[in-house]
């Protein structure tokens, strides 16, 4: 008799917990529909904050936004009273989809053999089923740049939305050629001599290759011009058909890179990394080159720098007039993007500018400002609902929409939590019956 009662109690507990956990806990697949998200505080980023606002999502697009929006009769209405809605956060530099497990070579598709492999496409190696993707998107990061690394020309980075079952379904419509500008800085565990030698070699590779690419761009398509995939990829940048993401960090390298870019007549250029941007912020601003910087939570590049040099870096550049977007340069913990932004905000950038750095600025830098980066009519419905300021760790992300799809708010990390918070069986697999 007692055991039935116990069973009943357990049943009630189990049911109760599933109901209270999250309303779409039972949702196993994303769903596309017409949605009306009502009564929320909407941070549009480009048009201020709307109190008690409504967003209508239809066909993957934001159809209406405002305080006085007519809710279509066929829309699924979700009341978000007391909650806040933000555009999906954009991490402008990750290895998401390319790296599954850091220490295992077989689980990494990030670095092709050779120094000159610009024809490598990150998008083609993106694994849409990477465990890190759901882990990232339930934190409100909906879009990332995923980029190859290594050598001088490691390949082409792609912007992807973190939902889809093929790379094409995830592709957000922007690519850029990655150039690792020869670095005078030492890498960790490298001697200065090794670094200098590597720099000289890289500089030679960069310039010789670029000369060839310029020539290729000129003769491309003419009779007898042989197809050359490396040059084909580079020629697109030479001709201004594709942007270049130039990774450069040390102050003097940044100045050299500015000179190099001007000398080559490149206009669609973004500097990435830019760890010492604060030292040459005015020069960067004068050159009009936007930057993708981060991780913000980094140690300073020099022992003598203030402890907060990296925290302040985005703010110093932004105040000098540089357009700044942020990146985590991470894979599995790209979910920490809002905290990197939060640190940038605390150390001088302010919350509003830091929010822009992970939304509209990123979209503009990628050339996707007509589709992403803010909550505006006609843009893609990439957004999330939060209990408060997403930069604060006490805030919970309640709902995420990507391309208008309502995303299941789960990941393996959440599933493990549900399984192990109150593990069954607990300490004893076969507890002694209390009936006797």
């Amino acid at each position: 008799m007692r055991s039935t009662k116990l069973l009943l109690t357990i049943l009630v507990l189990v049911l109760g917990s599933t109901l209270s956990f999250a309303q779409n806990d039972i949702m196993r697949q994303a769903r596309a529909d017409k949605f009306a998200l009502t009564n929320a505080t909407i941070y549009t980023v480009t048009n201020g904050v709307i109190e008690n606002g409504t967003i209508v999502i239809s066909n993957g697009i934001i159809e209406a936004v405002g305080a006085n929006v007519t809710i279509p009769t066929d829309a699924i209405v979700i009341d978000y009273e007391g909650q806040e809605i933000y555009p999906g956060m954009i991490d402008s530099g990750t290895q998401l989809g390319l790296v599954e497990i850091g220490s295992i070579a077989e689980a990494q598709d990030i670095r092709e053999f050779g120094d000159i492999t610009p024809q490598m496409e990150a998008l083609t190696a993106v694994n849409p089923n990477s465990e890190a993707i759901p882990v990232t998107r339930v934190s409100g990061v909906t879009t990332v740049i995923t980029r190859p690394s290594g050598g001088v020309f490691p390949g082409t980075a792609a912007t992807i939305n973190l939902f889809g079952y093929t790379p094409d379904q995830m592709f957000a419509g922007s690519k850029g050629l990655v150039i690792n500008f020869p670095s005078s800085g030492r890498r960790w565990r490298q001697t200065q001599e090794e670094a200098d030698r590597a720099r000289e070699r890289a500089l030679k590779t960069l310039n010789e290759t670029w000369d060839k690419a310029e020539l290729y761009a000129e003769i491309e398509g003419t009779d007898g011009a042989r197809y050359y995939p490396e040059m084909e990829a580079l020629a697109r940048v030479v001709k201004g058909e594709m942007k270049a993401y130039i990774e450069v960090n040390a102050a003097k390298d940044i100045l050299s890179a500015i000179e190099w870019v001007q000398e080559k007549g490149l206009t669609d250029v973004v500097f990435t990394g830019v760890a010492e941007g604060w030292r040459v912020a005015d020069e960067l601003a004068d050159a009009g080159i936007p930057v993708i910087t981060g991780p913000v939570q980094s140690v300073p590049t020099r022992r003598s720098d203030a402890f907060d040099a990296a925290y302040k870096n985005p703010s110093v550049m932004q105040k000098a007039g540089v357009k700044v977007a942020l990146r985590t340069n991470d894979t599995e913990n790209s979910r920490n993007l809002p905290y990197h932004a939060g640190f940038a905000a605390a150390y001088g950038m302010g919350r509003e500018e830091a929010l822009k750095a992970i939304t509209i600025n990123a979209a503009e830098i990628m050339g996707l400002e007509d589709q992403l980066g803010s909550i505006e009519v006609g843009k893609k419905a990439n957004l999330f609902v939060a209990t408060g300021d997403p930069f604060e760790t006490s805030t919970q992300i309640l709902e995420v929409f990507i391309d208008g799809y309502q995303i299941p708010m789960t990941s393996r990390q959440i599933e493990l939590y549900n399984e192990f918070l109150d593990r069954v069986p607990g300490l004893n697999k076969n507890p002694v019956s209390t009936d006797q």
């Binding site: 800085g185 030492r186 890498r187 590049t301 203030a306 040099a309 894979t331 939590y417 607990g426």
Partner: protein, 455 residues
């Protein structure tokens, strides 16, 4: 003459050991919001530290003469943060020459001039557990330090009176080392066997000495003195706390079984990404866990991690701390602890305990630090906002009542003496690839060098 000088040196050396005094400070912090950890949050409260100890806590404390007064109105005061897993201030990490190196100690490789110490202070950290690496199954002894930055004497950093601790390591790191050298262990089976062997050897060693001591005579030769075995015996007798590098649930469970068999009780699992899977067993054993807030996927054995680890362990009654194992993360452990609110909704006090009282308990120093209580050490951090807020910026950090960090006097250029003729110092760029390497650095670097030398 030479002898005299030698004697003089000896005397001087000796006296400096005996009389060396680390500085102790006096300070009165006024009108703060005090996060005591053990006694709730006290608003508008003063803390008086005298001679390095917390003398009194209360409102409108009388201001003694010649004591620095800090007006902390609107600010938050918390106990100095304790990092139970760090390698900053260490000039080496692994003595990877044998799978058991219990005889070595990190106390011999402390670098008091590591700038990472200052940066940790600038993140509110006052004590660290400087750990040996995880290359071998039974590594060296660790050293608990107080971050008294500014001294050139490594001994000044010692946390006087802290219990001895030692590093063990399970899983991929020691087995990779075994494979690299073609020796045991290459599996988790081998790891267990090596630990059991080491303890059995220690018991034999102890018995030999006991037999010799019980029956001393001029005709008997004493057993060979072996510092490695002495250390192992001290572990068996509960004099050394074991801090074990571990990730997977099965290996955590294995070590608890081994320790039960040998009657060893004091055990903290370091990293312990899968501790959440055996939380009831950890609680029953009374073992602790010192974990990352959210690191995962950097190697296979952390692929099935969850950032909810801290919350699951806490809810299951396991003493849990959050550590850094990194010169970067150590600078914002308050923020790492705060992530336990996103992942499992821990209360403010539960979250703060992860970086204060809980690690103090794991290191056996909770009678001295880890909370703001009268009689405890004057190790304190002041923040402009609640330290669990992402926007919080550390303002001042005190160790033994002495201020070692003050954001108001922190300068952009930290060079002590700037020589206009000198070249600018190196720029070090920490890339993503290094990031991965760093996280299992503890094993690779040493064995790689070792193998190459042996070949």
């Amino acid at each position: 003459m030479k002898k005299l000088i030698l004697n003089l040196f000896l005397i001087l050396g000796f006296s400096s050991v005996v009389f060396a005094q680390v500085p102790k400070g006096d300070v009165l912090i006024q009108n703060a919001t005090v996060l005591t950890i053990t006694n709730g949050t006290l608003e508008d409260t003063d803390i008086l530290i005298e001679d390095g100890k917390i003398k009194s806590i209360g409102q409108n404390l009388r201001q003694p003469n010649n004591v620095e007064v800090i007006d902390a109105e609107g600010m938050f005061v918390m106990p100095g943060i304790i990092d139970a897993h760090s390698h900053i201030a260490g000039t080496s990490i692994n003595e990877g020459t044998s799978q058991v190196t219990a005889e070595v100690s990190m106390e011999d490789v402390v670098n008091p001039m590591d700038v990472s110490i200052y940066r940790a202070l600038a993140g509110g950290v006052t004590s660290i557990h400087l750990m040996h690496g995880s290359a071998n199954v039974i590594g060296g002894q660790n050293e608990t330090l107080k971050l008294r930055y500014g001294t050139t004497n490594p001994d000044d950093l010692r946390f006087e009176g802290a219990p001895r601790t030692i590093k063990f390591a399970l899983g991929e790191n020691p087995t990779r080392g075994g494979r690299a050298r073609g020796i045991q262990p290459q599996t988790r089976m081998g790891v267990e066997a090596m630990i059991r062997n080491a303890f059995n050897d220690a018991i034999e060693y102890r018995d030999e000495w006991a037999a010799y001591n019980a029956n001393r005579s001029n005709r008997k030769i004493a057993p060979e003195y072996d510092l490695r075995m002495e250390t192992m015996v001290d572990i068996l007798e509960g004099e050394i706390l074991v801090h074990c590098h571990s990730y997977r649930a099965d290996e955590i469970y294995m070590l608890m079984n081994v320790f039960s068999d040998f009657g060893i009780e004091k055990l903290t699992f370091q990293h312990a990404n899968e501790a959440y899977k055996v939380a009831p067993e950890l609680a029953a054993f009374g073992a602790s866990a010192s974990i990352f807030s959210d690191w995962w996927a950097y190697k296979l054995e952390v692929y099935y991690s969850t950032a909810y680890n801290a919350a699951i362990l806490t809810r299951n009654g396991v003493n849990t701390s959050i550590n850094s194992d990194s010169g970067e993360l150590i600078r914002h452990l308050f923020h790492e602890a705060a992530k336990s609110q996103k992942y499992g909704s821990l209360s403010d006090n539960e979250a703060l305990r992860l970086i204060t009282l809980n690690p103090a308990m794991q290191l056996g120093i909770d009678d001295r630090v880890g909370s703001i209580e009268v009689g405890k050490d004057g190790d304190i951090a002041i923040f402009d906002k609640h330290p669990l807020s992402t926007y919080a910026i550390p303002q001042m950090t005190f160790v033994d009542g002495v201020k070692y960090f003050d954001i108001n006097t922190d300068v952009a250029d930290q060079r002590i003496m700037i020589d206009p003729e000198s070249t600018i110092e190196d720029v070090v760029i920490f890339s993503r690839e290094d990031h991965d390497m760093c996280m299992h650095e503890e094993s690779i670097v040493n064995f790689y060098e070792l193998v190459n030398e042996e070949k």
